[in-house]
Symmetry: none
Subunit: 240 residues, 4 copies
DNA sequence: CATGAATGAGCTTTCATTCAT
DNA sequence: AATGAATGAAAGCTCATTCAT
């Protein structure tokens, strides 16, 4: 973030010198993302992508087999980074409630910064099996991490032990992702996102029956919002 | 087949005698539903629908303006009934926890019986603005009802008063609908749905900080499942 | 032939009233034949065929699935008639030599009147498996008939009994068809076809060791040419 | 692989040391033959040939002007040798019947060993004028030689003098080449080739009315098969 | 109302060939 | 000579929609 050469949004800049071919491929990817975001998958034409990348129509097919192919490439090469674990300096000993809120805030950032891409992901998942698999994989990764956290907290006796950890994880991920998806991607609701994150996190904590050892959540008062600390619980990095 | 409207499953049969034109229109609707479920919106062709309805290709356009038109008609005329309020006989004085569980069970039934249609709804909502509006309306109706219930229960002091009722309603609807959507429509997971409903309901109740006057939820034990009683909290009927 | 409405060359005129669709299909077939003959299979474009039939490009696909499809249709619907058995009035008791000559003369007529089509058949057979099958079928039908005649004549003791009838039939059909093909289709040689048929027939008769009971072939003199009588030996009608 | 031209089967190996450029050209030819045999002319792509020769796509055009160009080169540089006169040691004084059989046997060998190439030759001749010329030239060479033999034998009074030598030669070449082509290239018939050659040769001899001075063909018995002696009658070498 | 033939814009994809490096 | 990226003309095919009968 600090010493990197100014990444533009979520799309990562290639780090090393590129051959001419790699450069063209990269330009096509960037152009495709732009065109897909502007027109959606269905209305986007290969011609649009090629034109935006300033290459001949046929050049497109030197690098990608089809519109679907480049679409998947955009998702697989540009999406994962937005889910990468981001460490955040000091923040010693976050309470469980804080961790939940950190996680949800991280989610908010991801949906805020990539709403178009995520809308594309959902759209394509409805008709492209491979994209569906990608989406399922991302979701599973998130669920797995949450599930582990729930189990650990159940062992620590600070979470309702009557909950099925796996199903609960699935439900909570559904709540967080779909809420943000609804608010930011499909419905464009004008909720105050600060309040929304706090409410969502409170529901989440309540749902688990979360009891901090040191009673970090004062009964019926808003949690203190902060983004410090390592976000672990919601890391969706598919490769981890 | 010839003199009977042949109702099937959730699709409502017309109640009164139909003119020939109405009959043809109805046949087209039924066929469209079948074709859309089989092929998805994008791969379905008007020709398929006409063929399945045993009418000439051109006849289609006597009744519907376009493929999108009949698609919307299928959704608006066949979907609403699946969200109809279903009263459930006796069941006197259900506890709040029971009501939550009843609601979620009703949700389960809806997703179980209409997974294809609901998948179509999601798919079409990603590229058809009118369908998107329809989906948003259905969701709002559900959220409104939940919100009212939350507010009422907050007034009765049996729900966490620190929660923003509107946002909480949105989150909880997201959790329930998206969980079922994931489990039954997109991922086809083999979770035991009985356990899933119970876990989901428990999370829901916990999230709200639900306290029954008569302590209806024994600490850390599964709720008794029943489908009797009137499902109010999740009624999505857009007309109500 | 006499009371029919002026058939044009080898292409048969439809006999009954045609619906609009059948008329269009027929026009496309006629146009396709013309275009294929003019440009060959490879250079012919669907657009050319549609244009020649004066229909929209898309109309083509109402009747045929692809260029290959209509090509096969042209061959299967227009070729078989050119091989149909043609009776030829009186000519009582043709001698075996006369029958051979009749057959070859019939062959000549077929190749003369349909050289373009037969060139197309050969061309397409080199890359279209179905056309190859068609060609093989036509050839087999011819071989079968010749074989039967050879066997019968061997039984009558007027043909070299040391010949394998099947292989001999295959060789003789190869000789006749490929000679005419070379002379008339590929090389356009300016041989006098009258002499050519006579020489070919004499070779054929010699090859079989043909001995007429009444010595119909005067030693070393040209046979009398005639086209009367029923041509049986070379009937290639695949349906018989 | 590196310092050897790797000759394979019928394809002639270059005899002298090659420059790097010549080596590349040769590799391209070998690769082209392989690719054409595998895919046919139409489906073969320049890219395939270059890839198989392990050179860059563009390098192809340093050596050949087009796909058609290298195709012709393959035919002219690799086909002629297969028609080379092959002397066959001792075999003193072959009878005319033996010579016919030798010739047909030689033909059989050629078609057996080069069916793919000969199929390609036929295919390309249907759409490439230059290849057509090549094919006609090969055929003419064969016909010329047969014609000379026929004339000589007619002068020797051992062949039917009523036959037009040129047309007869054309017919007999058609019979032999097209029979083998049908049996081995297009139809893949499972005739016993030994019997086939004998039948074919017998027909050939009969057709010419061949009378050996010393009656070399015992009435209705198979000729003795041998491949010894110089094959003259069917030598197709276009350069002779 | 029903028919079904006709329309044609619009998209994807291929690959022989060129050319700057 | 060799490279391999870039070119772009061409063609096939689809299918929602129209319309004359």
């Amino acid at each position: 973030m600090i010493d990197e050469p100014a990444p533009s949004g979520a799309t990562p800049e290639p780090r090393t010198a590129l051959t001419k071919g790699q450069r063209t491929r990269y330009n096509l990817l960037i152009s495709a993302e732009s065109v897909f975001e502007r027109l959606g998958f269905l209305d986007a034409r290969v011609a649009d992508i090629a034109a935006e990348a300033k290459v001949a129509h046929g050049t497109f097919y030197t690098y990608f087999e089809s519109k679907t192919d480049i679409f998947r490439a955009v998702l697989t090469e540009f999406l994962p980074p937005i889910y990468q674990k981001s460490d955040y300096g000091g923040a010693t000993n976050p309470t469980p409630f804080q961790r939940v809120e950190f996680g949800n805030r991280r989610f908010l950032d991801v949906y805020r910064g990539n709403s178009k891409m995520l809308a594309l992901l959902e759209q394509a998942a409805t008709f492209d099996p491979e994209v569906k698999v990608l989406r399922t994989k991302l979701r599973h990764t998130a669920e797995r991490r949450i599930r582990r956290n729930i189990i650990r907290m159940q062992e620590d006796n600070i979470v309702d032990p009557g909950l099925d950890a796996e199903i609960a994880a699935s439900c909570l991920v559904a709540m967080a992702t779909h809420s943000f998806y609804t608010w930011l991607v499909t419905d464009k609701r004008d909720y105050d996102m600060e309040s929304a994150v706090i409410t969502l996190s409170r529901l989440w904590g309540n749902a688990l029956g979360l009891k901090s050892e040191s009673s970090d959540r004062p009964e019926y008062r808003s949690v203190t919002s902060t983004t410090k600390g390592v976000v672990e619980s919601l890391d969706l990095d598919a490769t981890s």
